[in-house]
Symmetry: C2
């Protein structure tokens, strides 16, 4: 049944849902579904079914499938006829299990309604608790629980949540009523309120709904239930969900399931509790039981981060210097049972689990389990340790670490020897360190980041509306909430450093100020946060290179053992080349020679070259540059000895080297001893309307042969020098940029070969070398068959290839690319992750045609995509030989390449 | 044998030439070759063979094949071993036929050596006459001819020509000697010189060679012969030839043949002559015998245009008001024989022939025949009349007219009612009229033309070195030479108006002046030339539309009957639309709505729209534009009633509409009532580094939906209005520019459909319409399959597609495209004629994928290529439905489309 329903989904939503099974029940010990049915039941539903099958104490319930969501949107937001009957039957099963009846006056069954998509989307979907309460059943609940205060508190929570999520009444109206009631009655905490207080508030809440919507708050539990189910499906297309899916690359077609489950209460007294547990430490990966709980609280209180939660274990409490008692102390029996669940679930799922539980009257209920989000360090450690424990295989371990996450491990951390003016301290919620200006709103953070500024997003607490800003910020600081608060969870997932719950800090949004003690900082002031220690530091603090763990080394060793794709680096400075080699780069895939021209010592000669009126003048200036260029290559060849070094000849249009401001122009004219007017003339002459499509790349080599000749000479002279002094082979690969035709390569290769022969005969020794080309224009990709007759290797310049294939200039794209993302035209920025359908097809065409001509042609990629895991996997599928990326991305590419191999074998 | 040798050529040059036939003999009545062997023998050689076979009086000779040229360049400029023997045998055959011996002291055989490529390349290849003369044989020639003056004149001509062409000694040195000799001896004309004068000059010429080359002038006739053969092959790759081939799209691989032929002399006295004859008038196409000759002159004298030649016929003489006697009068018998040859050749070749002849001692020799170059008017008339005469079929006639040449007929001519301040008159050498500034050098003409200026190239006479400048000029004026001079022949071929031989005009290159009587014009002054009358007119003269002949109408009717491809026009003004419809356009293929925005009445509203801070402001400004846009479309729909009108929504980046200069910005700020600073801010905000790849095309429609909505509303309101008033169908096709994804079309099409429904419901009537897209990005071409799910038609925007596929901005390409052409990287400017291998493949891919999704999708092309004959033929081969081009190019496209059909059927 599940198979056929998945099949029908793949073929589009069925138009006639009468024979389909839309509802899957679960109850401790038995359920219709299983963990394998994640696509159909969503992650939460599948795991509830699985845990029920395992006999864990799961409150009974049922899951409405993701297929129903698809059906709903394919059929003008209507349900199939069969749904109603299936829901009724499933509800009956819960009633039978729990021994309560939905809507019953004396013994009412209450349920929660939650979304549950295939992929975990924390905080993104709406939840309704305590559903089934109304003016009549609340009395029944009060009676049966013997706690009228609890019953009316539950009812007011339900009205508020349901009104907000299902009916669209702003929650602040309810909060105002509550605040006013407290003020009027001299009450401070929610726990100070009595049953009568809550009863009065419930009446006012209902009045708000009636006023706002011109209709009473729905009293019929079935109306409530269908309203909530509709709201879950509706929330699948709300802006927050759409944004999250876009950022996480989740297709809208997946849909969400709806989980309806009997309520259990963590807030019925001090023998009740609710909490979140991780089977290992999600921050470090250490194999300890980790988590937080709150006594006498309802489910969402822990995650929302409003009350500061307590630790599960005594060890955890001590480690964090907390005064609050651990669950291990307060509820030792229940804790023991929970510890047993920890063992069972991890052994079963063979992965670190994130578990939600509730204790009702000393009875443990498990509400959810899922793979726990973790830091990169934790991911690495858990993967490696699980292999050591025999839980998973090496290839499994390789797949367990998200390559992009490694960024967290590889980036610099604060220099421990640097002075730190520590302003305050919060929880070390997500590792890494960052400096930036204080920004108090997510939107502004996004704007400033787009302008290239480093920002630290500072908020009292974060909510899903802040996701864009969190993504844009270098780091996140909150003054409320714990290690499992929204800010902490999301920041860890994104790899942003985060300090959470820094309670000494006072944020004043209106004044745009942040106060710590008697110190006041303004928005725009620089601060630094250290996600490893929780410190908040005044100003900018210098950073040092990261120390990589042994686990990391082991994982990378496994990755290297399994991957087919080689990983090189894009580097032109000795520092970058050395860093990359330390990170495991297997050569240089792209050395951009123009970067070497901007050195202050050389730029004058470069400008003289550009300003020269004829070839003699150009050659004279170039001759001055020759020793510098040669020395550049000597260093690179030495650092990379034994490995290939691909050097791209001059690529950018010459005007990029000219000064921009009038003052600068004057200065250069003086320094170069040239006429100001002539300088300006030349700048005008070199001006281009579309420099990206202008006189650049090999077009420079064709029109000014002397430029490439000097560069080739510098390369060959350096290669000969280094080869003489070294036992290792020097492997220069000369790369011609921006070719569109075979003839360009023919002409330039001939000249390069002539220079090589000249240098070899002058020096009396030879080195082997190759001449190849970038494939970065659609025409070059299409004509790759004939270009390969001349070129000995191809390196795909996917930045330019994306620009030309899409007709989008990277420099100008920000004007519309955001709109494109919001309107769902692009799933992911094509400059970040390769556009497989368009640019990718050109890469495949070129690879195929190039190989048809020259079977052993070396194929690589050297655009920024070389460090993007999805793009690396595409390169592996396309049969390229290597990727080349920035030094810090080398380990990421190595791991992504290994995953590609594992996935290809799987 | 010829077949196998052609086959070997197709497979590359043979490496071993021993068994190959390299030399083909011809002699009146019998020859090895024929007209069919043009590829192997070149045009001249094949026709010499053919005429020999026909029994025409052709001096005997032989042709060395084009295969030999290919062999020569494939084998490091060496000949196969077998060649020498074959040449010797062929030489023997000539000796036997003529009764003279090559190198013989008493009775020396003299030969001419000429190039002969497959395609006629007038004036581009070098020729050597009188070869075989040396210090000894010249005496023999003097003796046998009884004319020592003739013999030494011939010898000095030979030395000068051979030294220039074969030995590389500059010809001016020889001219100086001759001038000096005349001055010293008080002689004026060459004919004043005696045998002794020539003898003395020969001695001086030989001394020049010895001085310059440090070796004596070669005396061995066989050394001379091989030197000349090598020079012919060498000239195949000289700059002039390369340039000509580039301009005419002739592949370098074709190679040239060498023709060695017994000399006949038109300069042995007054019973000798030489001339050029056309079987019909090459200017008008009239079926009259047309040509010029010179008494007592050698071959090249007529073509070189140094002496003013006389007419062949009495009618010709009278028609041109010449005083000089016609050949018909002077040599009636020979003329009669020549007239017979005219009949024979035209009947045989079934095309107008251009014949070179020489009369030696009253005996007629035919030295060459070839298809005559002709004006467009002549081409049309000849083709149509030859069909009427039953000589050729209608499809033949269609192939006989070069579509690009029609330009000459379609462009305006001088308004006959306009005042003309006629400065002087020359020969009406090539029809059409042009105005422009006087430019005295070809290089400057090219430079100025590149900057968009109209120039008239004014020269005493032109030479092949001037071809670039002639191509760049609007018109050509020479002060020397006749209707068959270099200037005249080349100008007709290029379709440039030309007035030749305007002897009253004096050109002073040094002073940069042109003098006519007492009037002095400076370079830079405006003049007008009328190629139809030969008038040279002061200043600029207004022009009127061309009158098209009945022959033209008939030919176009045949073309329309045979072509498959439809022809539309690119037009946005009523004038253009009407012109195009008159020229036979079958609808509008591209209406660029932005052109309508530049109208002074509207530009302020456009700028207000751009400057608006929000959608409300933008919408207000757009509402103002709506009535204008609607009226635009009312006019276009009315003019094109019954035919489809494709309207492209706004395409260029918004900053194109903003004023550029500070003063203009201030003015607009005032007019628009907006703040200057804000205006400048907005201009900065809209600035793009690469606008071609920027925020333009449908990206505007995505980010500013209201712009496309207003445009759609204008279109639908206009369509409804016109449909109400007309019996004809209104067929609007709305075209979305610059799409890269299907989703863009989905979103915009939905909005357009909504606007349509709104307008239809407001007006109570409906019109049928289509929504389609431009395919102008490589990604769109690749994703055409899915784009066709939404788009109802594709129009290939090959301008942009060329820019992105090649990565070349049209605005910036001139910086390197010339170098690219000179270095043979591109054969033809890809913006002029579609790059079939690159851009063409994308067009084919898109056509195929689009049709696979939507079998009846309409496919067209609307880039500038739509009016380029080669590109039109490519579109036909690719199965497109229509091409769209500028109004004046419509007939060209119709004819090219018909040729494509004929060629496809053939």
């Amino acid at each position: 049944m599940s198979l056929s329903s998945q099949k029908s989904k793949a073929n589009g939503a069925p138009m006639n849902g009468s024979s389909e099974k839309w509802v899957y029940s679960f109850a401790a010990g038995a359920s219709d579904g299983s963990a394998e049915m994640r696509n159909l039941l969503g992650g939460k539903g599948a795991n509830l079914a699985e845990m029920s099958n395992m006999g864990l104490p799961v409150p009974p319930g049922f899951t409405i499938t993701t297929d129903l969501c698809t059906y709903y949107y394919a059929n003008s937001e209507t349900y199939p006829d069969a749904l109603d009957g299936q829901v009724e039957a499933a509800l009956k099963a819960i009633e039978a299990d729990v021994g309560a009846v939905f809507g019953d006056t004396d013994n009412p069954l209450l349920v929660s309604v939650r979304s549950g998509a295939r992929a975990s989307m924390p905080g993104m979907m709406d939840t309704v608790l305590n559903l089934g309460l109304n003016d009549v059943t609340v009395a029944g609940l009060a009676e049966r629980s013997g706690d009228a205060r609890f019953a009316f508190d539950s009812y007011r929570r339900f009205i508020q949540m349901y009104s907000d999520v299902v009916l669209g009444v702003d929650h602040y109206m309810f909060e105002e009523v509550l605040e006013q009631h407290k003020l009027d009655n001299g009450l401070i905490l929610d726990t100070d309120l009595s049953a009568d207080d809550w009863r009065s508030i419930v009446a006012q809440y209902k009045a708000i709904v009636e006023r706002e919507l011109n209709m009473p708050f729905p009293q019929d539990p079935r109306e409530q239930l269908w309203g909530a189910i509709g709201a879950v499906f509706g929330s699948w297309i709300n802006q927050r969900a759409v944004t999250y899916r876009r950022l996480q690359n989740i297709p809208a077609e997946w849909g969400t399931a709806v989980n309806v489950q009997a309520m259990v209460f963590g807030n019925m007294g001090d023998d009740c509790a609710t909490g979140v547990a991780f089977t290992r430490d999600p921050s470090t990966g250490e194999n300890i039981f980790y988590g937080e709980y709150l006594v006498n609280a309802q489910g969402e209180d822990v995650v929302a981060g409003i009350r500061t939660p307590q630790h599960l274990t005594i060890a955890g409490k001590e480690r964090n210097g907390s005064d609050l008692p651990a669950m291990e102390e307060v509820m030792p029996d229940v804790f023991k049972q929970l510890a047993g669940v920890r063992e069972t679930l991890e052994a079963h799922y063979k992965d670190m689990q994130d578990i939600e539980f509730t204790v009702q009257s000393n009875k443990l209920y498990i509400l959810q389990t899922r793979s726990g989000k973790r830091t990169a360090a934790a991911a690495v450690r858990i993967a490696v340790e699980m292999v050591a424990d025999g839980l998973i295989s090496q290839p499994d371990a390789i797949l367990r670490v998200e390559p992009g996450q490694l960024d967290q491990l590889l980036h610099p951390r604060l220099d421990p020897d640097a002075a730190r003016n520590v302003l305050s301290k919060g929880l070390p919620a997500s590792p890494g360190a960052a400096s930036g200006q204080i920004v108090l709103s997510a939107d502004l953070a996004e704007d400033l980041a787009r302008k290239g500024e480093d920002v630290i997003l500072v908020r009292i607490e974060t909510s899903p509306e802040d996701i864009n800003g969190m993504h844009a910020a270098q780091g996140i600081l909150t003054t409320r909430g714990g290690m499992t608060s929204h800010a902490a969870v999301v920041a860890r997932g994104m790899g942003r450093p985060c300090v959470a719950g820094a309670g000494e800090i006072n944020v004043d949004y209106d004044k745009g100020q942040v106060r710590v003690g008697d110190r006041t900082l303004a928005a725009g002031d620089q601060i630094t946060i250290d996600g490893a220690t929780g410190e908040i530091i005044d100003g900018k603090v210098p950073t040092i290179e990261p120390d990589l763990s042994d686990d990391f080394a082991k994982l990378m060793e496994w990755a290297d053992g399994i991957r087919r794709l080689k990983v090189r680096t894009n580097a032109e400075t000795p520092v970058d080349a050395r860093t990359a080699r330390d990170f495991g780069a297997e050569g240089i895939g792209l050395c951009r020679t123009e970067h070497m021209f901007f050195d202050p010592e050389r730029i004058v000669a470069v400008r003289r070259m550009i300003l020269a009126e004829d070839v003699t003048g150009r050659r004279a200036a170039l001759d001055e540059l020759l020793p510098y260029q040669r020395q550049d290559f000597v260093e690179l060849f030495t650092i990379m000895s034994g490995l290939p070094v691909t050097i791209r000849l001059l690529d950018p249009p010459l005007h990029e080297f000219l000064p921009k401001s009038d003052e600068e122009i004057r200065e250069v004219a003086r320094a170069a001893g040239s006429d100001l007017a002539m300088m300006q003339d030349r700048a005008v002459q070199l001006y281009e309307s579309n420099p990206m499509l202008g006189h650049r790349g090999c077009r420079l080599g064709i029109t000014y042969p002397e430029i490439y000749e000097i560069q080739a000479r510098a390369i060959f002279e350096a290669a000969v020098l280094v080869a003489k002094d070294s036992d290792e082979t020097v492997l220069p690969e000369i790369m011609i940029p921006l070719a569109a035709t075979r003839k360009e390569i023919d002409i330039l290769k001939e000249r390069i070969d002539q220079v090589a022969e000249a240098v070899f005969s002058e020096s009396g020794s030879r080195v082997a070398y190759q001449v190849g080309t970038m494939i970065e224009l659609p025409r070059a990709a299409l004509r790759a068959g004939e270009i390969a007759e001349s070129a000995e290797f191809f390196s795909f310049g996917t930045n330019d290839l994306t620009q030309t294939t899409f007709g989008i200039s990277r420099d100008d794209a920000s004007n519309f690319l955001n709109d494109y993302a919001h309107q769902g035209i692009i799933d992911v920025d094509p400059f970040v992750s390769i556009d497989v359908d368009g640019v990718g097809e050109l890469v495949s065409i070129a690879a195929e045609r190039g190989r048809a001509t020259r079977a052993d042609i070396k194929l690589g990629i050297c655009g920024e995509h070389g460090g993007d895991p999805a793009s690396v996997k595409f390169c592996d599928r396309s049969g390229l030989d290597y990727v080349s990326c920035s030094p810090y991305r080398v380990p990421i590419a190595r791991l992504a390449a290994a995953q590609a191999s594992v996935e290809a074998d799987g």
